[in-house]
């Protein structure tokens, strides 16, 4: 409960893009699971661990993230002391002239200096799990390592970027490879790292002094020659969002009872921004099978193996199979969709048929009228 750590969530990942879906938003703000954004899971993990100061860095496109996070009240992070800090990119005319390279490190340094906790947990925004960090920190503390990195062993199947960690017999990092052709290990970074706040301040000031602009988990892991970095295996259920197809398959896994049980019913709540939608209404002719449905939906057609976000309308005679339909989408009469991802606020006109493949879903961008 009384954890001596603060959190930092990296809302973007330089190696990950979800094509059309990441056009309007940062990776962390990607809608998932009917009523969540990816960041909700990591933010809830931190809050459930007792962390009361969390920074979120977005590189760009942070409007949707800011809308979602607000003051942080949904996560009980609207506090007088610390709470949620949204750290926008640090832009000045000098570094914009340097070809658009954005220097976010000075603002970051101030943020770390203004906190008082001993440890910082830094997390990427492409992994979803439900756990606390208390054991992770205890083990880090006991090991006496400079940093600890969480990993598990199923990462490689999610495709690029897989950051493979080669650990020595004592569990310390001795080599690190990104997307190796022939991996020598199954240990794949989960992008959650803990280190001493003072050490982090040193590292960030050094990189500012050297004129570097990069700040990422990979950047810190590369210091394995200089610092002792210990691996910590996380054995719980994890989903990784590395691409459109892994986003699609992660969503489909949320239709499995065991996966939903692990992520949502473990006793640790997953917080998100509340919307006050009305309850979902089902008419007398609908057929819904193996699907997750959110508040505010109106279901009059056929839906199977799909994820419906809040406020979706499925009109009569429409057939939806294996689809992800995001907030406030209107599916008109007699529409047939299979393996399709439809972003927010789209309208699909009557009679339209769209067919994607299970490993290559069709994506309709935000606000489109098809």
């Amino acid at each position: 409960m009384f954890i001596n750590a603060m959190g930092l969530i990296l809302a973007d990942h330089k190696r990950i893009t979800l094509g059309e879906l990441s056009k309007p938003r940062a990776l962390a703000a990607m809608p998932i699971g009917g009523r969540y954004r990816i960041i909700d899971f990591m933010l809830s993990n931190m809050v459930n661990s007792g962390i009361s100061s969390v920074g979120v860095i977005a590189l760009n496109k942070y409007k949707s993230l800011m809308d979602h996070l607000g003051t942080g009240s949904s996560w009980d992070l609207d506090r007088k002391k610390q709470g949620l800090s949204l750290l926008p990119p640090y832009i000045n005319s000098v570094n914009v002239e340097k070809g658009g390279e954005i220097d976010d490190l000075t603002g970051l340094l101030n943020f770390f200096q203004s906190n008082t906790q001993k440890y910082v947990i830094i997390a990427d925004s492409n992994v979803i799990f439900n756990s606390t960090f208390n054991e992770f920190i205890t083990r880090h503390e006991e090991s006496g390592a400079d940093m600890s990195i969480m990993y598990n062993r199923d990462g490689i199947k999610y495709g690029s970027p897989s950051v493979m960690l080669d650990l020595d017999r004592r569990g310390y990092l001795r080599d690190m490879m990104v997307n190796p052709a022939k991996p020598s290990t199954t240990r794949c970074s989960l992008g959650v790292l803990v280190l001493d706040r003072e050490l982090l301040i040193d590292l960030v000031s050094q990189s500012i002094a050297r004129g570097e602009h990069d700040f990422s988990i990979e950047y810190l892991l590369k210091k394995y020659g200089q610092y002792k970095i210990k691996g910590y295996e996380f054995k719980g259920l994890t989903l990784r969002i590395n691409s459109v197809s892994s986003y699609f398959s992660a969503t489909m896994r949320l239709l499995e009872d065991s996966v939903r049980k692990d992520l949502f019913w473990s006793g640790l709540p997953v917080y998100t921004k509340v919307k006050d939608e009305a309850p979902a209404l089902y008419d007398e002719n609908n057929i819904v099978v193996n699907s997750v449905v959110s508040d505010g939906c109106k279901i009059m057609g056929e839906v199977s193996d799909s994820m419906l976000f809040r406020g979706v309308t499925i009109s009569k005679y429409a057939k939806i199979k294996n689809c992800i339909i995001m907030q406030d989408v209107h599916i008109s009469e007699s529409v047939e969709l299979e393996n399709v991802i439809i972003d927010k606020n789209c309208v699909i006109r009557p009679g339209i048929k769209l067919l994607g493949q299970a490993d290559y879903p069709v994506v309709i961008g935000k606000g489109a009228i098809v």
Binding site: D257, P279, A280, V293, S294
Partner: protein
């Protein structure tokens, strides 16, 4: 404190004894309604949507659930620096300590609270009606009519009129007489229990009423007639739209079913007048293969493996495979085990209906829980926190509740504390 033009007061202290087991542990305004809501969400949301920023909630009977539910008013945007929500329980003071003796006395005891905002108008609301209403419009009408009080009225069918408190009006819409449940109604304008008063006039009436030993300190019975006797101008404000008193088992059930049968009437999907509520922290609901959900309203946290027909489910309800739920209202956290058949039931928080239980209107048989006084139309009610024994048979019109000192019987396997 900064001055407020209007202060709203919600009367939420009544027990709601006609709801039987449903209000054993909580006050009527805190009873779940319409899948996502509690009854009090309606007046609270109406206040915030009407731009009223100071709301006092008068509580008395079993206030814990209501107090925790309202909290600081955040869910309704009523956590304000100036104004906001206030829970107002009866209190002790030097010289007197009283429970609220009636609706008027409850307001009288809170004169100090109201005075601290120095309002011009006071809006009195009851915490047990389902409706969407713009109080600002009513207030504008009150100001335009230069009335001392305005009473919202609702046209009811003539044949039902004798069940209500009726306002007899003249051709200008001014109230000339108030009749409580008359045998031969002269009007079909029922009082909705929504009043706007000029605070100055009301304050004087409340003090006079307080000193009258004959009075039962009730707005309808005492304050309104006294104002009429003094010749004050009382205006009737006609409300058109959905309005329902959910004070009985029958009307609570009916009003829930209205959401399914005539959703356009109360129109909960209208985003310009949202009904806010405290949101449960639960994932979106899941409908499995083999499940069938028709004509129903569902919300977050539900897991459906069986059949749900024409029912209203609150958050985190589980209906197992092979179970059938028909024409029912299930409150948060209810579990229906496999093979159970539930027809026209209202089931309280977290109650577990055991395997193959048969309960409700179409179930034959006799049962010691029959309760003709409170239950009607075949509706069977279950208290919260019960586990109903496997295979139990419970016919319609039953109120299944644990009597004090009893831990279990042939129907109730055990009970547990609902948190």
């Amino acid at each position: 404190m900064a001055r407020q033009e209007v202060v709203a007061l919600i009367l939420a202290g009544g027990q709601g004894s006609r709801l039987g087991a449903l209000t054993k542990h909580l006050a009527k305004p805190a009873v779940p309604f319409g899948s996502r809501y509690r009854i009090i969400d309606f007046p609270l949301s109406n206040c915030t949507n009407s731009g009223i920023e100071t709301v006092g909630v008068l509580t008395q009977y079993q206030p814990l659930a209501l107090n925790t539910y309202i909290g600081n008013g955040h869910s309704w945007d009523l956590d304000r620096n100036n104004g906001g929500t206030y829970i107002l329980p009866p209190y002790q003071s030097s010289g007197r300590s009283d429970w609220y003796k009636g609706t008027a006395n409850a307001i009288y005891q809170n004169i100090e609270f109201i005075e601290s905002y120095d309002p011009k108008y006071v809006l009195i609301l009851s915490g047990d009606h389902i409706y969407k209403m713009n109080y600002a419009k009513m207030l504008r009408n009150h100001i335009k009519e230069e009335a001392e009080a305005t009473i919202a009225v609702f046209e009811v069918p003539w044949e039902e009129a004798s069940r209500f408190g009726l306002m007899n009006t003249d051709e200008n819409g001014n109230v000339i007489e108030f009749e409580e449940k008359p045998k031969n109604p002269k009007s079909n304008l029922a009082s909705m229990g929504v009043y706007v008063f000029n605070w100055e006039a009301l304050r004087r009436m409340l003090s006079e009423d307080e000193n009258n030993p004959e009075s039962s300190h009730d707005f309808g019975k005492n304050i309104i007639p006294a104002m009429l006797a003094e010749g004050m101008k009382l205006s009737a404000y006609r409300f058109c739209g959905y309005w329902k008193d959910v004070g009985t088992i029958g009307s609570l059930w009916e009003s829930n079913m209205d959401l399914l049968d005539t959703p356009e009437q109360i129109n909960l999907m209208d985003r310009s007048w949202r009904i806010y509520s405290r949101n449960p922290i639960k994932p979106a609901h899941y409908i499995s293969s083999g499940a069938r959900v028709i004509n129903s309203a569902l919300t977050d946290g539900c897991n459906i493996y069986g059949t749900v027909e024409h029912s209203v489910l609150s958050n985190s309800v589980t209906v197992e495979k092979g179970a059938v739920v028909k024409d029912s209202v299930l409150m948060p956290g209810v579990t229906i085990r496999s093979g159970a058949y539930i027809d026209k039931c209202i089931i309280g928080f977290e109650t577990i209906i055991g395997k193959n239980v048969k309960a409700g209107a179409s179930v034959e048989g006799d049962c010691k829980y029959k309760n003709a006084k409170l239950c009607s139309d075949g509706i069977t009610v279950f208290e919260r926190g019960l586990c109903i024994r496997e295979g139990a048979v419970i016919p319609g019109n039953c109120m299944v509740e644990l009597k004090s000192g009893v831990e279990s019987d042939e129907i109730i396997e055990y009970s547990f504390r609902v948190r």
